[in-house]
């Protein structure tokens, strides 16, 4: 069991690409930390530096009390699950799982015991004699996880382990991984580009972009109080709607497509300026006409998903999405009116994109 601390971590490749910039993270013991972001944001590079597979340009990584910057991967007491599973194709499932223990000279009966135990947890006892090529994607995934857990490492590292699975299996394995983490209580760092995975698995989630940490927080914190426009747009599906609005001279009101929105008190000082308004799809409410200051528009695409209906429309040329009750009867090209829940509005600085 260990905490991981990453201080002022930087990675610059030989070709000059600055992949990771001044990352600072404190990962607590037993925590499940998820790094999420679009491809090329530096999340995998960060993970690989923790694993020791990538050299650190500057900064420091500690696992427990040890600085591991110059330790080879084998001495860091970590286990890693790769996106393509990286099972040894010439070894049986048992030998795959036993390899790490054999390399560390564990006695034979201990290896037997640990592999059986891990196989039982993952429900792959029947597959131990098979070769990786005889397994389905989901089974390979389990073996890869099994190979990591037999070692009882201090830290688990996951590099997009679910992205090669089909959608249904991915949801199932997601739950299993969470259950497994609760059972094993080992510190885990998990990299994904899928924000749903990040939100469901993470005790805390780190959103990264262009090598920089954008925000670190619990899933609902990221959703409810995004630190900037990028986080707001990245977390949540469908994504948050953004519209540019002007504040009235005294800063109390914002004008937007015929709507007058009450602006929270903290923003009154910005009177007269333009700000970016962020609205979650569920913060838009359909209304029946009479209310003043509504957003009147026409729906162009209706997506009935069963548990909810997504209405796509345009407001002043900007495409927007609203999430409404499944009982709602709306068809494409119907004229509709929306109001906004003033308590659930987000405001961002149009230049710096930071939350206001």
């Amino acid at each position: 069991m260990a905490n991981v601390s990453i201080r002022q971590l930087n990675k610059k490749y030989d070709n000059g690409f600055h992949a990771v910039k001044d990352v600072n993270l404190e990962i607590k013991d037993k925590e499940f930390l998820v790094l999420v972001g679009p491809s090329g944001c530096g999340k995998t590079t960060t993970l690989r530096m923790v694993a020791g597979l990538e050299e650190i340009t500057a900064g420091e990584i500690r696992i427990g009390e040890r600085v591991v910057n110059d330790l080879p991967p084998m001495d860091r007491d970590i286990a890693m699950v790769f996106q393509n599973y990286a099972l040894y194709p010439h070894k049986s499932v048992f030998a795959n799982m036993a390899f790490g223990l054999q390399m560390r000279d564990y006695p034979k009966d201990e290896i037997q015991k640990r592999v059986r135990e891990a196989a039982e947890i993952l429900g792959i006892e029947a597959l131990l004699e098979r070769k990786p090529r005889q397994l389905s994607g989901g089974q390979r995934q389990r073996v890869a996880v099994g190979r990591a857990i037999v070692r009882h490492p201090e830290v688990f590292l996951f590099d997009e382990p679910l992205s090669n699975l089909d959608a249904k299996l991915r949801v199932q394995m997601r739950v299993e991984l969470k259950r497994l983490h609760e059972r094993l209580e080992t510190t885990a760092i998990y990299v994904t580009h899928d924000q749903v995975e990040a939100m469901t698995l993470g005790t805390r989630v780190v959103v990264m972009k262009d090598g920089l940490v954008q925000q670190v927080g619990e899933p609902l914190e990221l959703y409810g109080r995004p630190a900037n426009k990028f986080v707001a747009g990245f977390i949540g599906s469908p994504a948050m709607n953004f519209v540019e609005v002007s504040l009235s001279g005294d800063g109390r009101w914002a004008e937007c497509q015929g709507m007058r929105l009450q602006v929270p008190e903290r923003l009154h000082r910005l009177g007269g300026k333009r700000v970016t308004l962020g609205v979650r799809p569920e913060a838009l409410r359909l209304v029946n006409g009479a209310e003043a200051h509504c957003l009147a528009t026409e729906v162009d695409v209706v997506e009935p998903l069963g548990n909810e209906i997504l209405l796509n429309f345009r407001a002043g040329g900007v495409p927007m999405v609203a999430r409404v009750d499944p009982g709602t009867r709306v068809r494409a090209h119907d004229a509709v009116r929306f109001t906004l829940d003033p308590a659930r509005l987000h405001f961002f600085d149009p230049q710096s994109e930071a939350a206001l």
């Binding site: 991967p73 084998m74 860091r76 390899f99 390399m103």
Partner: protein, 283 residues
């Protein structure tokens, strides 16, 4: 496969295939049949009554016997085998390590080195044997098996290195990274994980190296003088063609017996050979 009309399949597939097979296999058939025909048939004209130019009416082992008893053929066979095996092993060991290094390690000049090795492969043997002969003489290796065991790798190592480099590149890097996290050193991961996975590639490089050294002619002709040091290709040609007399029966018997070991090696490893050259590993 798409469903096609039957006659189309015959015209576009079976017929060209048949022509191709005939074209490739006829020389082998001719070699085999010549080895078992008596001299009387071999030197008879095609117009003579009862002539069967494509077949033999009285098969005989006389040429094979003559070859084994009157020439040093068994010695040549042994020389060839020994030289081919030793130079194959040397080339495989060097080629495997060099191929791995070029595929995986990033060091200054690694790309230049890779290209340089490839360029040495492009220098024709017919030019290279002249300086090599000089070296062989200086080292006093002429007329010993070492002359060939050490010169064949000069062409084989570049080839093995390039073939294996390509093969190592198809093996996912993660396999090795995972092994290193599992507790193996770089060398350990290479030997325990990468080499076993690369067996098809290593085998096909080995087969290629073996065949090439088995059939090699110029170096063997230049560096070996005495009859008891010769390899099969040189021995057969130099001892069984005397002046303008061709001992066709024995020549072909020698060619036949000389190609059997190679055929056996191929038949055992043909599947590995194909996967080795087309290269595909799934993790």
């Amino acid at each position: 496969m798409l469903i096609e009309r039957k006659w189309k399949k015959w015209v576009y597939f079976y017929l060209p295939m048949a022509v191709f097979i005939l074209f490739t296999l006829f020389p082998f058939y001719w070699m085999a049949i010549t080895a078992f025909r008596p001299d009387a048939e071999l030197y008879a004209t095609w117009r003579q009554p009862n002539a069967a130019p494509l077949w033999t009416l009285q098969p005989t082992l006389e040429h094979v016997k003559g070859l084994l008893q009157t020439t040093a053929f068994p010695t040549w066979l042994w020389n060839t085998m020994l030289i081919a095996i030793v130079s194959t092993v040397i080339s495989l060991v060097c080629g495997t390590f060099a191929g791995y290094a070029l595929a995986r390690l990033r060091f200054p000049g690694s790309e230049f080195l890779g290209t340089a090795i490839f360029i040495t492969y492009l220098v024709p043997q017919t030019l290279l044997f002249i300086p090599l002969a000089d070296i062989i003489r200086d080292m006093q290796l002429g007329n010993t098996p070492w002359a060939l065991m050490l010169t064949y790798p000069t062409i084989l190592i570049p080839f093995c290195t390039w073939l294996l480099m390509g093969y190592f590149k198809t093996i996912p890097r993660e396999l090795e990274e995972c092994a290193r996290i599992d507790g193996a050193t770089r060398f350990g991961a290479m030997v325990r994980i990468i080499f076993p996975v690369a067996v098809p590639g290593i085998l096909s490089a080995g087969i290629f190296a073996f065949t090439l050294s088995w059939n090699e002619f110029i170096y063997a002709l230049v560096f070996m003088a005495s009859a008891d040091q010769k390899t099969v290709p040189v021995g057969v040609v130099s001892e069984l063609i005397r002046g303008d007399i061709f001992f066709w029966g024995q020549l072909m018997a020698g060619a036949l017996l000389g190609s059997v070991p190679v055929a056996i090696v191929y038949s055992f490893f043909v599947e590995y050979y194909v996967t080795g050259l087309t290269g595909s590993v799934k993790g």
